[in-house]
């Protein structure tokens, strides 16, 4: 440390400790940049409590390979009768489908997955003509059971993008609209249901990532911009000091989070996460920050339009998932371990009575 640096630090420290948290927030930045790959090992342990008969389960494993995540679905062990890696025929989501003998009183399985992950950021100054898979883009424009693209969704989107002439302008308008007009509702179970039509019809715009980012995606789709939700889980802390944008401990059982992508002709698939902006506004500070220009929010609001941190693992982009071997209803999305005993679905949002635990650790390079 040279003399100049020392003097600066010495002069600053006593003063900094006296600053309020909000004043300290002024120093915050949020600038993910693609860099070194990090490796994470994620272990999902299921112990199906009180089975009432023949039991089966479906454990999501990472199925996304891109220039920001490389996935290895993994290995498993347990006292099952059978287990196999299954791929959803429509969206390519992967899961370990496991069945236990009816006589098994304490069914368990442990699935270990690995990913390599890194930050993702778009350089808006560098336009190109990235290749696009027509089938992939077509799927990213289709409605789903919970994400219709007609009716009130289309009407809402049309008003928001009126006068915008490019897809970038439309997406920017939709992103800003979601940030300003929705809010994080901590009381919602899990990551929310994703009933976006209900949100718009009732004007009840509170929710979590599966609500808010689904709304963003559906608005994009109904505006003609391919978009998709990515369902995953946070695996590490935020490198930028945002408590709410990372996993607080190696136990990530309740750290599920979904993000979004839009396809822009001149840039390809672009990272988006207005739901995390809303989360910072509602939960990062002791008080609810309702202004996206607030010093604590502004860096995240700007950053999550085109970038995100590599402290998260994407499972899949799937909707309306029919679980193989189940006669139960399709899942709106597949982000939580699922199980059935005697043909009845077990509440996946209640890991304590299900039971399941998910842990994450970074594997040294």
């Amino acid at each position: 440390m040279d003399r100049r640096t020392f003097v600066t630090a010495a002069a600053t420290l006593p003063f900094a400790t006296a600053l309020s948290p909000l004043a300290l927030a002024q120093a915050r930045t949020f600038t993910p940049r693609p860099g070194d790959w990090r490796t994470f090992e994620v272990v999902t342990r299921l112990d199906v409590a009180n089975p009432t008969g023949a039991t089966q389960a479906w454990v999501p494993v990472p199925a996304v390979d891109a220039n920001w995540q490389k996935s290895t679905p993994g290995t498993w062990s347990g006292n099952m009768q059978q287990a196999e890696l299954v791929t959803d025929p429509v969206y390519g989501a992967k899961m370990v489908h496991v069945t236990w003998a009816e006589a098994e009183k304490a069914p368990w399985i442990e699935v270990t997955s690995r990913i390599q992950s890194r930050d993702r950021a778009l350089d808006w100054s560098r336009k190109s003509s990235p290749a696009a898979d027509p089938a992939e883009l077509a799927l990213a424009l289709k409605p789903t059971a919970l994400m219709p693209t007609d009716g009130i969704v289309r009407e809402t989107a049309s008003k928001i993008v009126a006068g915008k002439t490019t897809d970038v302008e439309r997406v920017r308008a939709l992103y800003d609209w979601v940030v300003v007009n929705t809010y994080r509702e901590p009381k919602v179970r899990g990551c929310g249901v994703g009933d976006i039509k209900g949100m718009l019809e009732t004007g009840n715009m509170g929710g979590k990532c599966a609500d808010l980012n689904a709304l963003f995606v559906a608005l994009c789709r109904s505006s003609g911009v391919p978009a998709r939700d990515l369902y995953g889980i946070r695996v590490a802390k935020s490198a930028f000091g945002y408590r709410e944008l990372g996993a607080g401990s190696p136990d990530i059982t309740k750290a599920q989070h979904c993000r979004a992508e839009v396809f822009l002709t001149e840039y390809g698939w672009v990272a988006m996460d207005p739901a995390d902006v809303a989360k910072v506004m509602r939960q990062e500070a002791p008080e609810w920050l309702k202004d996206p220009k607030h010093e604590l929010v502004a860096p995240v609001n700007a950053g999550l339009f085109g970038a995100w941190e590599g402290n998260w693992m994407a499972y899949n982009v799937a909707h309306d998932v029919a679980l193989p071997g189940s006669r139960g209803a399709k899942l709106g999305f597949f982000m939580y371990p699922q199980a059935e005993s005697r043909g009845e679905r077990i509440d996946s949002l209640d890991p304590d009575t299900f039971k399941y635990k998910i842990t994450s650790r970074e594997v040294p390079a």
């Binding site: 409590a49 009180n50 009432t52 509702e185 009381k187 919602v188 179970r189 249901v193 009933d195 209900g198 949100m199 019809e201 009732t202 009840n204 509170g206 929710g207 139960g328 209803a329 059935e340 005697r342 009845e344 679905r345 077990i346 509440d347 949002l349 209640d350 009575t353 299900f354």
Partner: protein, 185 residues
Amino acid sequence: MTPASHAPVCRILLRFVAAFACALVLDGAAAAELVPSSGAQAPPLALRDLAGRDIRLADFRGRTVIVNFWATWCAPCVKEMPSLQRLRDRLAGDGLTVIAVNYQENAARIQPFLDRMRLDLTVVRDHDGSVRDAWDVNVFPTTFVVNPNQRISLVAVGEIDWDDAQVEARIRELGGRPRTVAERR
């Protein structure tokens, strides 16, 4: 009658978010009211109770059935359940059956709740949400009063005081046959 044709009955319902219903109560808004329904045929309901027994709405033809959608995490649901049980106790001999449809929770969560609340209502598990979809329920609690002909006579979106004399009178009007021996068990 298909669920789709039943849908207009409930299309006025609000979004499935417990927080909203909670807000109604916390904000001191008036409690919900039992309002007349169009008389649509009740959608199917066939689920298991916590003991694993099959419970079918169709088996109660001839009785008035209250179908109450609830969850343990829904504060207004929790608040109204004791009065719902008292209504069941008062009218069980006069043609009323109550089926409390829990939304997607585990028995390990529900049973301790019932024990703590000293409730012995017939609780079935809508384990995958398909019954909620069929009945087009978007707010908890939502309660349907199904007449002896299995048509929906009344509906309430939100918490009801089931001890209210007018509420009881409207349900008594619907009538119903006595319980069978099996139904008494």
